[in-house]
């Protein structure tokens, strides 16, 4: 009995053979629909901050550095690749790519930032996108539904004129710190 079992086990092992992949020497491609690193299309983004206020990892960050320029910063080091941002973007500006080999010793390698040129609405004074034909309402469409005010607080902040300081602050923003209280 014992021997018979061992023979069966041997057969299973032999039939299976070597299954270890020769990764990383042979690349492994991601299947269709894979959720890899999100990639932003700056021509589509209208700067609504929907992605930022819904990212569970809070790793997307929007800030107005002056009345006309809004910066979107995505810091991949905290990203969980959940794809929530891509789901909620009203303009479909975000795609979940098939990139997954993201290990790096330089955070800048995996950070994306977009400068968005915004217009000021003559009525309400809020910024909206200039180049794409859009209603100002779309800015608050998908993303902001029942959103919590607390999370929004850190995302939208405008200054009336261009400030180098704000720009530096935004670029040097280190997400893993704490949310402003």
């Amino acid at each position: 009995m014992w021997l018979w079992n061992k023979i069966k086990q041997l057969a299973i092992s032999f039939r299976a053979g070597v299954v270890t992949l020769r990764y990383p020497f042979e690349p492994r491609t991601a299947p269709e629909g894979f959720r890899g690193q999100p990639v932003w299309d700056h021509t589509k983004c209208i700067g609504c901050a929907g992605c930022a206020s819904h990212c569970p990892a809070r790793t997307i960050f929007l800030r107005d550095i002056c009345q006309e320029v809004r910066i979107l910063l995505y810091d991949s080091s905290r990203c969980t690749y959940c794809g929530r941002c891509a789901d909620l973007c009203p303009e479909k500006a975000i795609t979940m790519s098939d990139r997954f080999e993201l290990a790096t010793d330089n955070r800048q390698d995996i950070t994306q930032s977009i400068e968005l040129f915004m217009m000021t609405c003559q009525r309400c004074g809020r910024c909206y996108d200039l180049e794409i034909k859009n209603y100002i309402d779309r800015l608050s469409s998908l993303g902001y539904r029942y959103d919590c005010l607390e999370a929004r607080k850190v995302i939208r902040r405008s200054t009336t004129e261009f400030s180098q300081e704000e720009l530096e602050k935004t670029v040097a923003y280190e997400r893993p710190g704490r949310l402003e209280k």
Partner: protein, 563 residues
């Protein structure tokens, strides 16, 4: 008269004015509010009627002027009923009767709130620290509202958990926090007399990450499923589905049928890979690495399938409140069927080749034995309970998602040992395959254009309770949600299956051989990260005799060859 009505009637009669309210907002759930004095009487009454204790939930209700709330939940498995008893204690006197003398399984829950909320429990037999690290300052209770979620008090030197003295005639063998046979940090101080285990003390909660606090202070309802999924490295969907169900129950949302079937498929895929993973680990722990290699090879197919279906091999990210995010269309269901056929064939072959193998029998039969009575007393759940003849399974007893529409069996064993657990888990693999196939059939018949999730019509109302169960591969997981303002839960409590099962490990270890320690602990498939929720650095006195890995291996080899 149903069990629920009968209970309410009895409570009205016996407790009189001490019963504040009893309501069934959601079928199969009974939420009872009591005065504090009546808590133990009501709990005793439930236990006498055959209830199974699940978990305690403490929360800070000072904002609404109610002091501290404490909820104990009980399950009537035969009647598909869950009962939650809620009481409040004023802020200046946060003391409750301890249920532990009556229900040993309540011990941890109560110690947890003693640490995290500063509640006090009268007559608790072992009121020591459980969750917080040893150098956490006295008087800071992390779950209280005024404590920020990212508070980091400075570490203190020279504090250590006071482990108990070994009983006379025994010496201590420490296992963990880091040990070759433990996959996650936990410390067992095992008392041995020669090679026989005479007792054990557990100190865990070293991977407490404060997830519940985070959800209650920073995240929003729809962020939580993605964090919940990361509670556990194996059963992610279990927690995200469970959380979503609890919120949906509280908010009164109806999830589209299609979404429920897809959730069921995700849950069962998870069960498949978890059972195969465990089978591999169990094989490895008893030194039978063929099982390890082959079980994991079969498992990999399921991981890749999950990657194709959901976009990731483990963190499926399928669940949001009100439904799911991705569909399973016909192509994908063909893909699933093909993989399942292959897994079933390979699994049968593997089962035939190993289940009669003497190695396994020698190392698992009679090991970690616990009687059915003990298992019931400790509220064991999942395959660990089913291996001891306790016939419970949340999928059948409290159907959720689409389990009310699928047929399956609940395998049982009565040997009461590690062997029984193994048999149960192997049999469950086939049941999971059966369930997935049924779900796919039904999915194909459902209208294609049904939405995958419902839209929230407005904010979720505050102060509603939701309670949900999901049968995780290791046993039932319980989520309790109290809805709050600002689009986030006021309280979210996760009870992973390891929580009750681990409490019974000392009893399982009793009178076993030291060499069987790894497989006994392994047999409950402990998921320490799920169970723990503050990082503890533990310093132990160097008194204990350390057993090197080599010694341990020799011991286990000696046992295996029957010497």
């Amino acid at each position: 008269m149903s069990r629920g009505e009968e209970l309410v009637r009895w409570l009205e009669k016996e407790l009189g004015g001490n019963l504040i309210s009893a309501e069934t907002v959601f079928p199969g759930r009974l939420f009872i509010d009591l005065k504090r004095e009546a808590l133990s009487a009501a709990a005793a009454a439930l236990m006498n009627r055959g209830a199974r204790y699940q978990v305690g939930v403490g929360y800070d209700a000072r904002k609404s002027g109610q002091g501290f709330g404490l909820v104990h939940t009980f399950a009537f498995d035969k009647d598909s009923l869950l009962v939650a008893l809620r009481t409040f204690a004023p802020e200046d006197d946060p003391e409750f009767d301890s249920l532990t003398p009556l229900i040993p399984g309540a011990g941890w829950s109560e110690r947890e709130y003693q640490d995290l909320l500063g509640l006090k429990f009268k007559n608790h037999p072992n009121p020591r620290r459980l969750v917080l690290s040893d150098d956490w300052p006295e008087g800071i209770y992390p779950l209280r509202r005024e404590v920020p979620h990212d508070l980091m008090p400075p570490a203190a030197e020279e504090v250590a958990f006071r482990l108990e003295e070994a009983p006379p005639g025994t010496s201590i063998v420490p296992f963990g926090p880091f040990h070759a046979s433990l996959h996650e940090p936990a410390h067992f101080s095992v008392y041995v007399d020669g090679e026989d285990i005479k007792g054990c003390e557990y100190r865990g909660f070293m991977t407490h990450r404060g997830i519940e606090k985070l959800a209650q202070t920073e995240l929003t309802y729809n962020d939580v499923p993605f964090v919940a999924e990361r509670i556990c490295g194996i059963c992610g969907s279990v927690h995200s589905v469970n959380y979503a169900q609890a919120v949906e129950a509280a908010a009164g949302l109806r999830v589209p049928r299609r979404a429920e079937f897809i959730r069921t498929v995700a849950l069962e895929l998870e069960r498949l890979h978890s059972h195969l993973l465990w089978l591999g680990v169990a094989g490895h722990l008893i030194g039978f690495d063929t099982v390890f290699m082959q079980a994991w090879r079969i498992r990999e197919k399921i991981m890749w399938l999950a990657e194709r279906l959901t976009g990731n091999r483990k963190t499926y990210g399928m669940v949001i409140i009100g439904g799911v995010r991705r569909d399973i269309n016909r192509d994908r269901s063909e893909d699933i069927r093909a993989v399942l056929r292959e897994v079933e064939r390979e699994m049968l072959a593997l089962e035939k080749a190993i289940l009669k193998d003497r190695t396994i029998h020698k190392r698992t039969r009679g090991v970690g034995h616990l009687s059915r009575e003990e298992a019931v007393k400790w509220n064991l759940i999942g395959p660990v309970a089913r291996a001891r003849g306790v016939d419970i399974d949340a999928r059948r007893d409290h159907p959720y998602a689409a389990y009310d529409e699928v047929q399956f069996e609940v395998p049982l064993a009565d040997s009461g040992d590690v062997w029984g657990t193994l048999v149960v888990r192997v049999k469950e693999v086939y049941q999971a395959i059966k369930i997935i196939n049924q779900c796919l059939d039904k999915l194909e018949k459902l209208p294609k254009n049904e939405p995958l999730s419902v839209d929230l019509e407005g904010p979720i109302p505050a102060s509603r309770q939701g309670l949900s169960l999901v049968e995780a591969p290791r046993g039932e997981a319980v989520h309790y949600v109290l809805t709050g303002e600002e689009n986030r839960p006021e309280r979210w409590r996760v009870r992973a299956p390891t929580y009750p099962n681990l409490q019974a490990v000392p009893s399982m270890l009793l009178n076993n051989k030291l060499a069987d320690f790894p497989i006994i602990v392994g047999s409950i498939d402990p998921c320490i990260s799920c169970t723990d929720r503050v990082l503890v650095v533990e310093r132990r006195s160097g008194k204990a005799r350390l057993l090197s890995r080599q010694e341990l291996e020799n011991l286990s080899r000696g046992k295996r060859s029957g010497r």
